[in-house]
Amino acid sequence: MPVITLTIDEELVSARAGQSILEACRDHEIKIPTLCHLDGLSARGGCRLCLVAVAGSPRLLPACTTAVQENMVVTTSNEKIERYRRMILELTFAERNHTCAVCVSNENCELQTLAAELGMDHVRYDYLNPDLPLDTSHERYGVDHNRCLLCLRCVRVCDEVEGAHTWDVKGRGIKSQVITDLNRPWGASESCTECGKCVEVCPTGALFTKGSAVAEMKKEASFLRRILDGREKRQWRR
């Protein structure tokens, strides 16, 4: 695979052609915050937290879906980028009812952790306070749409890794909502294999194990790499 050279944060670095800016950055241990991205799943570019500045582009570009190019000059962090990232987090919080204090994923939530890391200490926008339901019809798991940020990791892992494609999306824009089996209650789904991968990759408390109390959900998405390495590289390890 041809190697190309580009500049990231004023450092000359090499990357493989076809890699995304995000992958190239992670290969060189340059940290870029992400929310919808998950190693092992297809890139989506939905959350926009990985926005970076590329010389010559009039707007910021998502690092996860922008491929590296020869002589590209990338800036991963500056005042404007950080401000945009905080704004994106504020909008995410304002869109639904996250209410961290009583969430099953409190203290174990990627959204909450990012807010702390990026210094988002308040929300300047009016909360939309949508009236969204809780579906606990599944025997083992529940979905709380109030805490969903539409990263669609659940949709992707179910389709790309488990192969069940139970999850999908209905509606448009901020009215979008993840659904199971063409909008049937999760408990009535015939395609769900009850594998729980969607719960483990969900970055917030939107998908949870039933019976969990506040701060009791501790998710572990690293299983995904193990499965994929086994499948693709025949490397089986615990």
Partner: protein, 476 residues
């Protein structure tokens, strides 16, 4: 010309309130009202959530007694699961509930009412507060703070945090107590016993110094309600409801949680967010009942621990032969006896080998659609009533909070104090403070009772019969 006095905000209580006192043309008190000016709406916005979350959500109702909501909510959840909660989990829940009783009662006696009781009702308002108490009696203030810290620390050991722990869950609890932690608590108990002994002695002096006015702080006949154990003993976590009348006659006994709606009805008034519960069989006029430490000591047959029983026997003298103690000023004393009882029970539970058992949580799904959890909060009997669908989603929530049940009595107490102490149209700080103290004896938690977040302010306004504001005192 008739007038209304308004005390707003009422200070050194948990929550937000004001008092209005209406005077007639000759300056005599014709009416008084204790208004709770907060609203939160937990009963409404919890609908649609899962009952599994309720202990965590309802603990947020209050920062003083989150544990009480945790207990009632997890017990309601136990009923929905319909399985037996493991005995070690019950013992651990009791332990946390006693810790809560100690910290909350210590807060009420030493920190909130202490300045009135120890410095005097007429002391300079600038001094009549916690800082003044520390200056006047630093050892007592320190001991009180340490006692509260003891309770908070035990709650934190179990629930990882002292405020809003989400530790008790439907079916049990999340974590047990380590042996190191148990030893640490046991080591502190002698100091706590010493503190409560000092406070009990002090209480007797306080009764002497208040002897001429003690009967003005809510001395009237009423019903009393509280939980008692299967054997009729003092009970805070579980048990059956008992209601007695002003003569000590038992009106209800052995009432199960499911029966509470037969016993209690909730009245409403436009001028307060706090409801007016009453004993349904006797109606709103005759059905006024009191809950809390005084009621619990009145309804139980015995305390069940040696030192508390000795104090209880003396306490019963205040009521006379076979009669309940009817003066609300004795809530303070009852609180101290309950602290003593809680300390004895904590020692008992910590010495029980059952805590070593690792079975602390039963797992089950929704097996019943109704869950009712009743426990004794520091301020009185607390009810959580949930109706869920087959997936555990809440369809209806009813919370009856201890302070609400004392609402009729608090209004009556304010009236009694106003009639005794308010004369004419000018407000005197010392006299007003007595009216406020009439509320403080109940240690009301208004944040809980309206399920509301709040500060601790009080306001008194004096109105004429034509509604003109004549005088006003505000404190924040």
């Amino acid at each position: 010309m008739s007038k209304t006095i308004t005390i707003e905000p009422v200070t050194r209580i948990e929550g937000h309130a004001k008092i209005s006192i209406m005077l007639d043309d000759s300056g005599r008190v014709v009416d008084s009202r204790f208004h709770v000016t907060e609203f939160r709406g937990f009963e409404k916005f919890c609908v649609g959530r899962s009952f599994w979350e309720m202990p965590g959500i309802t603990a947020r109702i209050c920062g003083i007694c989150p544990v009480s909501h945790l207990m009632a909510s997890s017990k309601a959840g136990d009923m929905i699961l319909g399985v037996r909660t493991p005995a070690p989990a019950v013992a651990l829940r009791r332990l946390m509930n006693y810790a809560q009783l100690v910290q909350s009662h210590a807060l009420s006696f030493f920190l909130l009412s202490g300045p009135d009781l120890i410095l005097g009702m007429d002391a300079d308002p600038l001094q009549r507060n916690m800082a003044g108490l520390i200056a006047a009696n630093p050892d007592l203030a320190r001991a009180g703070i340490r006692m509260r810290a003891f309770g908070q620390q035990l709650i934190r050991m179990l629930g990882d945090r002292s405020v809003h722990p989400s530790w008790a869950v439907p079916g049990g609890v999340r974590k047990s107590l380590g042996s190191d932690q148990r030893d640490q608590v046991l080591k502190q108990l002698p100091e706590m016993h010493a503190t409560i002994n000092i406070a009990l002695d002090l209480m007797k002096d306080i009764h002497d110094s208040f002897s001429t006015e003690i009967d003005a702080y809510g001395e009237f006949p009423s019903l009393f309600m509280g939980l008692v154990g299967e054997d009729g003993g003092l009970e805070h976590y579980d048990g059956k409801l008992r209601v007695i009348d002003a003569e000590g006659k038992i009106l209800e006994d052995g009432a199960a949680p499911e029966d509470y709606q037969r016993l209690i009805a909730e009245g409403e008034q436009k001028w307060s967010y706090l409801k007016f519960p009453y004993y349904r069989p006797l109606g709103p006029e005759q059905g006024m009942y009191r809950v809390g430490p005084l009621a619990r000591l009145n309804v139980c047959d015995f305390a069940g621990t040696p030192k508390a029983d000795r104090e209880l026997r003396q306490f019963r003298h205040y009521g006379g032969q076979g009669k309940p103690v009817s003066g609300s000023f004795y809530y303070h004393h009852a609180r101290l006896i309950e602290i003593l009882h809680a300390l004895e029970r904590i020692e008992e539970i910590l010495g029980d080998d059952i805590l070593i058992d690792h079975h602390i949580r039963s797992q089950a799904g929704v097996n019943q659609n109704i869950g009712i959890g009743i426990s004794e909060a520091p301020r009185g009997t607390l009810f959580h009533h949930y109706r869920v669908d087959d997936n555990g989603i809440l369809e209806d929530v009813n919370l009856i909070i201890a302070t609400g049940q004392n609402n009729l009595a608090m209004n009556r107490t304010v009236r009694q104090l106003a009639e005794r102490f308010i004369r004419g149209d000018k407000l005197d700080q010392g006299l007003l403070n007595r009216v406020e103290h009439g509320i403080r004896v109940y240690d009301p938690c208004l944040s809980c009772s309206t399920h509301e977040a709040g500060r601790m302010p009080l306001q008194v306004q004096l109105f004429s019969a034509r509604g003109e504001l004549l005088d006003e005192v505000k404190r924040c």
